[in-house]
Symmetry: C2
Subunit: 323 residues, 2 copies
């Protein structure tokens, strides 16, 4: 056989192998670098029977934050829903317009809206998410997700991070049970958790309002009151995980931005089994956003405790499902 033929065969085979690798690659939207390698190595290590690092399937718990971790948090999607609901409420009761923040929402006064404090926003979420039955609320949320657009004209589903959908699938394919543990309110996320992430409603942990069960005057339903029951952020996340799952995650993923996930990652690190912590760094001005915490706490803790950091710019080949 002539040398050129041999070379051609080798080239052809290597293309075939590469194509086959690319097709088999469960994390296609992740660049092939040491971070991706460390995720795969961890998953292999906890799923290889007979090794000291093996973790039984029932203890392969993975918890993910949602806003800024599975989908974008700029804009905050639950904020878009709150505006949507507020406009519908004004439609039914125009007198609402005389008071803030309804006045600003009715006139699209973005300067006012952007100036709202966290407390103002929580109040707005409360007033737009409660005062109705669970059934009525779920209908509102379903209508919103079916029709709503983000300010950039994309559908809400297109704002999901593609690499994370792959990561969730990859973990489940390796026997992990994947959960959302987010500051978003629980029944809002449940409306899309199966469709967007493959996570069933019962594996969603979020903030909650006080619910009251009413079985009178023909109502047999949960009534959503405006009182906050839990705000699932910071130190509350490990507590919610304990209430809901009763096990520490071996894989925990959050994002820098508000310091909301650092205790969940620490809690995971206290697992008796090997564990893996992943923190998303929003450092991609071109494709998404660049924002950092003033005190840099999440990234400082990541360094201090040896967590793995995703540079959205450096580690993700693709960002959005829409791309």
């Amino acid at each position: 056989m002539r040398k050129s033929t041999t070379l051609l065969i080798i080239i052809f085979c290597s293309i075939l192998i590469n194509v086959s690798f690319a097709q088999d690659d469960p994390l296609r939207s992740w660049n092939n670098d040491s971070l991706k390698g460390s995720i795969i190595a961890f998953v292999k290590s906890v799923t290889t029977e007979g090794t000291s690092t093996f973790v039984p399937a029932e203890d392969r718990v993975a918890t993910f934050d949602n806003d800024g971790t599975l989908w974008c948090e700029k804009p905050l999607i639950q904020g878009i829903f709150a505006m949507y609901r507020a406009k519908k409420m004004i439609g039914k009761n125009p007198a609402l317009k005389q008071k803030q923040p309804f006045k600003a929402i009715a006139s699209n006064d973005m300067t006012y809206i952007k100036s709202m404090s966290e407390q103002d926003l929580i109040k707005l979420v409360a007033v737009t998410h409660t005062g109705l039955t669970e059934e009525e609320y779920e209908k509102e949320v379903a209508d919103f997700f079916a029709n709503a657009k983000a300010p950039n004209g994309k559908s809400i589903e297109e704002l999901v991070y593609k690499p994370q959908v792959e990561l969730l699938q990859y973990l489940r394919a390796n026997g992990f049970k994947t959960y959302i543990c987010s500051g978003g309110t629980v029944d809002f996320m449940r409306a899309i958790s199966t469709k967007y992430y493959g996570i069933p409603p019962e594996q969603v942990i979020g903030s909650t309002f006080v619910y009251v069960y009413k079985d009178s005057a023909g109502i047999n339903d949960i009534y959503r009151t405006p009182k906050l029951n839990t705000f699932n952020d910071k130190q509350v996340k490990p507590v919610s995980i304990q209430y809901h799952i009763g096990k520490r995650p071996i894989f925990a993923c959050g994002n820098e931005g508000g310091g909301g996930d650092i205790y969940m990652l620490r809690f995971s690190q206290g697992n008796k089994y090997p564990s893996y912590q992943l923190l998303i760094n929003h450092d991609d001005k071109e494709r998404e956003f660049y924002y950092q915490e003033k005190d840099n706490k999440s990234l400082n803790w990541a360094k201090k405790f040896g967590w793995n950091i995703v540079s959205m710019k450096g580690n993700w080949k693709t960002i959005f499902v829409a791309d």
Copy 2:
């Protein structure tokens, strides 16, 4: 062929068929009557594709109370654990004995113990179940279940109702996801839920204390404070189910005795899918206990709303796993 031979063959075949039926019967400890038939008919109706009664697997949620429904509530097993813990606490700090109820527990003063009110009991549970980390607590619970005996000398596992273990298995074999939703505290039940009932910790809903996450001074754990967070009884059960699962059960099972399960059964009955409600009636003085509510509320509601009633005496062939 002679008549007697034919008869012999028929008898032989019918024995074979009966043996095979008995072996295939998923509800062996239930008498073959209309109640058992109604359970089987319901399960068939919601699992037969292409019918109007079909329920998709992801919506086949079943919730069971625990005390008096899956295992006995006389004696209350969590009460036995509270005594066990109280005695251990006295061992470490004998001064406790000077105050009630420790004084009565130390001297086995059953008259005093039996006279304790529900509030007194909740206080005793709080003081014996909290003030330690989750990890320390789980060790205590594991030790208890490994060694404890009921007053009748049986192990705790032997106090589980055998027909209910079969029912849980039967539902799961038909694609149901089975949950506990009980007034017992959540992390107590989780210690045995997999072993006794095949229900994993994350499918256990119970009463909770306020937990605080501590990540300081070398502690990376949940600290259990004595403040009650939720008392998962009566109208709270539907609310806890909504928080935890986000779906109404299509199968709900509780017991008469304290009226604690009637709202869970009603909530299930408000399902958009066909649903089945089952109420255990403690009417078997010989094999277990006979006790009825003063106002008969649970049985009255069962009649009013068409729930199915288990007469332990009439419908259960066997009561305990130990039998």
